[in-house]
């Protein structure tokens, strides 16, 4: 067992992740060809607008389930809503936020854009502390809106008139996954501006604008969209009770900053926080690159039901040659430049 654990700790989890992401991408984009059915509460962007997708992202189910009158929600429709939420939570608890880092097709596409950016030599950006704090709230705003708007279509909120049915599944209308994932099966039918009325025109145009920002943003910023993703916000509500956990032993941390430098989302707290054991933040996608880059023994550890899955070791750090890694050194220089500003 110790040998196996040692082998895992010395392994390169980024390579494993790359393979896992490709397999998950194939499953969630083309799984329909194999008649696979994963249900309607998938805790990641399994977009049903792609006709070959074998499951349904929970956000679209939730938006439809809350699109009901109060009477229905507190009656039999409420049971469906609770059942959907329960299925989502049960699936989510297994992998925690690793759904984002290992399975999400939109995350994988952003990682591929990052690889392309590396190839063409464009440097990436990080947010400064103030922007980071301000921008991270957007995903919570989106989460609230995607639940309130469908409610407002069936119920008068604060005495206001009912919202237009053209706002149905509002987040899906602006989600880049709706347009991008069908493109992988040769379906461009979601790429349109709908001129039916002002609402459809606004929402469909907003969807196109978000798509453009998704592509351009991903070129200049790693995992650009994840920062604003309401699924990530929803994940965080249940993250503390998940089975897969990322813990930090603050006593062993030297605050070298390696974990922050490799973090695609740019979470500074992972390097600075030595007081809390559970280190998963709302923007974390549990890619576990921080563990890979940590040179200290028993400092960062991923565990499943208290069983260690992957932990930082000095031997592992040097066996992966990360201290010589060009990509690893490059961002650190950039960080120093940013911090001087």
């Amino acid at each position: 067992m110790n040998k196996l654990q040692k082998h895992i700790n010395n392994s390169n989890i980024s390579k494993f992740r790359l393979v896992f992401q490709i397999l998950a991408f194939l499953l969630l984009i083309y799984g329909g060809y194999l008649s696979i059915d994963l249900g309607t509460s998938i805790p990641t962007f399994a977009c049903p607008y792609n006709q070959e997708c074998p499951g349904t992202c929970y956000l679209i189910s939730a938006q439809h389930q809350v699109h009901n009158t109060w009477a229905s929600l507190f009656g039999f429709r409420g049971k469906a809503l609770l059942a959907g939420l329960l299925s989502f939570v049960l699936l989510f608890l297994i992998l925690n936020k690793a759904w984002c880092g290992y399975i999400c097709p939109l995350g994988t596409i952003q990682d591929w854009i990052t690889k392309l950016r590396n190839r063409i030599g464009v440097s990436f950006s990080r947010y400064d502390d103030l922007s980071f704090k301000r921008l991270k709230t957007i995903k919570y705003v989106l989460l609230v809106l995607l639940l309130i708007i469908p409610l407002g279509m069936s119920n008068s909120i604060f005495g206001l008139p009912l919202l237009s049915h053209d706002l149905s599944a509002p987040f899906c209308q602006i989600c880049p996954g709706r347009i991008i994932t069908p493109l992988f099966v040769g379906d461009a039918s979601q790429l349109f501006v709908d001129f039916t009325n002002a609402t459809t025109m606004f929402m469909s145009s907003l969807g196109i604008i978000v798509l453009a920002l998704f592509i351009v943003g991903s070129i200049f910023k790693k995992r650009f969209f994840c920062f604003f993703c309401p699924m990530s916000a929803l994940h965080f509500l249940f993250s503390k009770i998940a089975l897969l956990r990322l813990n930090k032993n603050g006593e062993n941390c030297t605050k070298c900053g390696n974990c922050y430098r490799v973090c695609d989302v740019g979470i500074k707290a992972i390097a600075e926080d030595i007081d809390h054991s559970y280190i998963v933040k709302d923007d974390c996608m549990m890619c576990l690159k921080c563990i890979e880059a940590c040179p200290e023994n028993d400092c960062l550890k991923a565990s499943f039901l208290t069983l260690p899955v992957f932990e930082s070791t000095e031997e592992g750090f040097f066996s992966r040659n990360l201290h010589l890694d060009h990509e690893m050194q490059k961002p650190s220089q950039k960080v120093i430049e940013d911090e001087k500003d």
């Binding site: 059915d37 249900g39 189910s61 950006s125 039918s189 349109f192 039916t196 604008i209």
Partner: protein, 329 residues
């Protein structure tokens, strides 16, 4: 001699535009009469006419309609002949109750639809005239779906079903491979229909498509009993008047004459003539109200602005400071 008579009868029927029934087609309508519109709401994604019966439960309602086409049809009143048989089948293929309320002005069929998928509703009228038994069947395939109920076992739920034991001449719309519970027909779509006579595919059956505005096209079924019809765009309203939420109704009519003999209500007949109608809805074509080129243009514009903005921001930050000399005098 008998074949000759059948042939004459057939040409009489086709040539006189279904004149045996006074140019009338019997079909099931999802659109309520004006008198009922206040009480009727729409149910599910496919906007089936429904009656709220309390506690969040509804009953689906369809009206018996007769006319030359969708545009020129009238609702059959309860005071008119109600000599008919009603069949309703669930998406699982089980027979279920369906009622015609005699207290209402119009003949309306009401049934509950607790299961997701296609319900098949039939109304059959039989009549003997000129030694021929005419069997008129009005059919509707009514898809019940709400995303709130999930998307499990979609293939089973959308399966076209036939019931040869009660409906000898059947027509079904063939489902395409990517079809799901969100299926909507639209102008421009090519749709395949299949005709069955006593559960076997019927070759050379005459299938007539009648659009919402009355455009007609008749095709013959092939060896497999199938015929493909392209739904045309049959109206061209001003751009701002296009209502892509409006469902237009089309009718499909299939006819077949056989030499089946028998006795119906004590009266013997020498031939049987079947007419089955299938009514369904279609939306305006998406190209009428949405644009790919505008989307691509907007995408390019936003990409250039966003990309250019980031590049400009980065250049501005790395600009070398210039010395500014201030004259203190």
């Amino acid at each position: 001699m008998e074949k000759f008579l059948v042939l004459i009868l057939y040409f009489m029927v086709i040539g006189s535009n279904f004149s045996v029934f006074g140019s009338k087609i019997l079909w099931l309508s999802n659109i309520p009469p004006a008198e009922r519109q206040k009480e009727i709401s729409t149910n599910g994604m496919h906007k089936l006419s429904s009656l709220n019966i309390g506690r969040g439960k509804v009953k689906i309602v369809q009206w018996v309609t007769i006319g030359e086409n969708v545009f020129n049809s009238t609702y059959l009143k309860n005071s008119e002949s109600r000599d008919n048989t009603i069949y309703c089948f669930t998406p699982h293929g089980d027979a279920q109750d369906c009622f015609m309320d005699s207290s209402k002005i119009y003949q309306e069929l009401t049934f509950s639809n607790p299961i997701e998928g296609y319900y098949n509703l039939y109304l059959v009228k039989k009549k003997i005239r000129n030694d021929t038994l005419f069997i008129r069947t009005a059919k509707a395939e009514l898809l019940n779906h709400s995303c709130r109920n999930g998307h499990k076992d979609v293939d089973k739920k959308i399966l076209p079903r036939i019931y040869p034991e009660v409906i000898p001449l059947e027509i079904t719309r063939q489902r395409n491979r990517l079809e799901n519970l969100h299926f909507f027909m639209a102008s421009g779509d090519k749709v395949c229909y299949k005709v069955y006579k006593s559960s076997k595919p019927l070759k050379d059956a005459s299938i007539t498509f009648i659009s919402n505005q009355g455009w007609k096209k008749t095709v013959k079924s092939n060896d497999k009993g199938e015929a493909v019809i392209q739904v045309i765009q049959d109206y061209f309203s001003a751009w701002q008047d296009i209502d892509n939420r409006n469902i237009y109704t089309y009718l499909l009519l299939v006819e077949y004459t056989s030499e089946e003999q028998g006795i119906y209500k004590g009266e013997s007949y020498g031939h049987t003539h079947y007419i089955t109608s299938l009514s369904d809805g279609y939306y305006p074509s998406k190209v009428m109200y949405s644009s790919l080129s505008w989307a691509l243009g907007l995408f390019l514009l936003c990409s250039i602005i966003a990309g250019g903005g980031v590049v400009y921001y980065r250049k501005r930050r790395t600009r070398i400071y210039r010395e500014i000399r201030v004259d203190n005098k």
